[in-house]
Subunit: 430 residues, 2 copies
């Protein structure tokens, strides 16, 4: 058997420890599949003394992660530190500059610095791999970059944040409001103490910008992603959506038309018959639509030590086998610069809390008419607290700017008591 | 850009023409992703004059497909002739023996001769690739071989035959019996004039033996697959299954325990909440369960010119990029020889047509008792034709041999009017 592939591992949190455990548990199997052993040679983390449930005594230790890149006994660096900048970015640059392959699960860094790192990787002929950065254990990066490589992809979308999906499913399944479901998710280890990266859509936006680049051969463009999280989704919205035959999911969605790229993270109404409506709990799911292959769906665990370690080691197996190829499906210099674009027209769900007094509906209808948004259905499902009511509308297909204008003007009505919630309805096909 | 990868294409049916169309339609995109152009250099088919809707004038023609392997202007051969033996196998041997990569969609040939061809490929250092052979456009071969490479896979199963799934879904959706749904599938182009390969489970067995080899690192073993098709599934069974909260699907399922490999194709009752229950029409879906990644699900079009061409060209892009690696996830010499094994215990659905006379139920119950099969529920949903009735049972978890013994003995009862139908119930998890 060939010489081992020797790993420098930076970051020994849950995922880092998971990688060590996996490489121990499946040492023979990984070696057979990779054609050579894959061994940890050196590790680095902030605190050498912390208990992690894995034995580090066989590995060299570096206090400074950057030094892993220069070690002669390290062939490839695995970065599991996290953070868009700081030590992770320093390590990425040092590793690739040294011409060594770099494997990371760091979506924030790729979303912000993916183009720079891909160029550096191309320049030095070093692989940059990040299967674990999107959708955890699901091999969707490989699926898009290689599996769907023959297709012009027109659209990629999915459930990219397991925390938000867990919260939305639990709200619907157990009749919880957002705050209750969030607390439950935190207790179950599915949400951080500060959950804003997850529930405000930032994490999904990072992943979407990476998927869009892979799918369309465009430069990763995080700034072009419209982001809306799930904080304002209420249990009542989930129930209204169900009455309309839909489930609410946090959807990341990217579409390309020529050089115009639409990227959006938003809670959306997904038809019950759509495969994404069936994705519950902390699962992730990605749909890609290609001109020859049609619609592909990938589903699996979006986070957790085991699934993420599985994706990291899959990248290592590929590197051990000598697989090369560009980071984002094309050489970095061929990645196109796309212009951010509005989404195509859609039907919208619009929920409004108003004072329960005569003439309110007439005012609401007039605002929609003036914004050129046509109402498909309107209901006042139940009276709210005393003197208030809730209006739920579904619009006919409308341009998003028109729907937003209507929502903004509705927010300004004197009878409106809280900011309206606007969510697109995902079509069943496409 | 590097020199083009030049293709010799054997077989110009629907899929062959689809490959030519794809390489024309997406010529620039494929070249960018592959790092070099991919061009058809020479083609071969039985009938040179047949109209195929694609222009062949730019390609050299060979009457004898085998000659493609030796042509100096052919770097890689794509085989879309079909058939386990004959010209396809001759071409595979000639191509690999010449040290050239070989791409095929031919599941029958791989199921019968996969080990021989993988050894030849290893010997000559030539790639053997077959993404299109299983589940059409879905990149599930890549997903198992590379995406899940870090995992000990314990189980792989799914809906591997689109024709059967189309028929079963149409039976359920439109209230058709098997013969009606088959005729509809034939009219819609989803079934062949002679449908036996599809509806008798042979095609699914071919694919399952390939998936099992990839998943478990075992030699492809078609002879070890227990095969049962869908001809005996009635509309009444589908309705009974639904009353029990299940959908009937033709499931190919492989599990390994040590060196004991269970492979089975059978109609099965799938719980409504299982992701495979939602797979309708001609779609395919594959579930793989790994020790670190958990459960992965891949869904997409299982057949058709576009999806199959997408998979063929994905293989070509990989070859153009210089990807190597073994055909079945391990070097052929490392593939283990597994012993065929019975499945683990399961609950079973058993449907029986009997003469409607006193004492029949007592006889049935006695047979089950004597076979050590415990009955969880039993119903006589409706009287059949005059003097007959139908008994539907669900057993408690039983070893399959016991359930088969019970079914065989029930078939022998004097009151039994037709062979019983025995189908396992798939568990919701695992």
């Amino acid at each position: 058997m060939a010489a081992p592939l020797r790993i420098g591992l930076a970051g020994l949190g849950t995922v880092g420890a998971g990688v060590i455990r996996l490489l121990e548990a499946n040492v023979d199997l990984v070696a057979r599949r990779a054609g050579r052993p894959i061994q940890v040679a050196a590790v680095s983390a902030r605190d050498r003394t912390r208990a992690r449930g894995v034995d580090l005594s066989a590995f060299a230790w570096e206090d400074d992660a950057t030094r892993l890149a220069a070690r002669e006994d390290v062939d490839v660096v695995v970065e599991l530190i996290g953070g868009a900048d700081g030590p992770a970015l320093t390590l990425a640059r040092a590793t690739l500059a040294a011409g060594k392959p770099f494997v990371t699960a760091n979506k924030a860094m790729l979303a912000h610095h993916g183009l720079e790192l891909a160029r550096l990787a191309d320049d030095r002929g070093a692989a940059l791999r990040f299967e674990a950065a999107v959708a955890g254990g699901i091999p969707v990066i490989k699926g898009l970059r290689e599996g769907a490589a023959a297709n012009r992809l027109v659209r990629v979308y999915g459930i990219l944040n397991g925390t938000s999906n867990y919260i939305l499913s639990r709200m619907g399944a157990a009749g919880l409001d957002f705050a209750e479901a969030l607390r439950e998710a935190q207790a179950a280890g599915f949400a951080e103490a500060d959950p804003s990266f997850d529930v405000d859509g930032v994490d999904a936006a990072h992943k979407l910008s990476i998927l869009a680049s892979l799918a369309f051969g465009t430069r990763p463009d995080l700034s072009g992603v419209q982001v809306e999280g799930i904080r304002h989704v209420r249990l009542a919205d989930i129930r209204e959506a169900r009455a309309l035959g839909h489930e609410i999911r946090l959807i990341g969605r990217a579409e390309i038309d020529g050089d115009r790229l639409h990227q959006q993270v938003t809670p959306a109404l997904v038809p019950a018959a759509h495969p994404l409506a069936a994705i519950t709990g902390a699962l992730n799911a990605v749909v890609a639509e290609g001109d020859f292959v049609g619609r592909l769906l990938f589903v699996g665990a979006g986070a957790g030590a085991g699934p993420t370690a599985s994706a990291v080691v899959a990248d290592l197996v590929g590197i051990a086998r000598g697989e090369a190829g560009p980071a984002f499906s094309l050489a970095a210099d061929l990645l196109a610069e796309a212009r951010p674009a509005q989404p195509g027209p859609a039907r919208f769900y619009l929920r409004l809390d108003v004072a329960d007094r005569p003439g309110v509906l007439a005012d609401v209808a007039a605002v929609c008419r003036d914004a050129h948004v046509s109402i498909e259905s309107l209901s006042q499902p139940a009276a709210g607290p005393e003197g208030t009511t809730r209006i739920v509308m579904v619009t006919h297909e409308s341009p998003e700017p028109a729907a937003r204008t209507a929502a903004e003007r509705l927010a300004g009505l004197s009878s409106t008591l809280a900011p309206p919630l606007l969510m697109p309805l995902l079509p069943l096909e496409g």
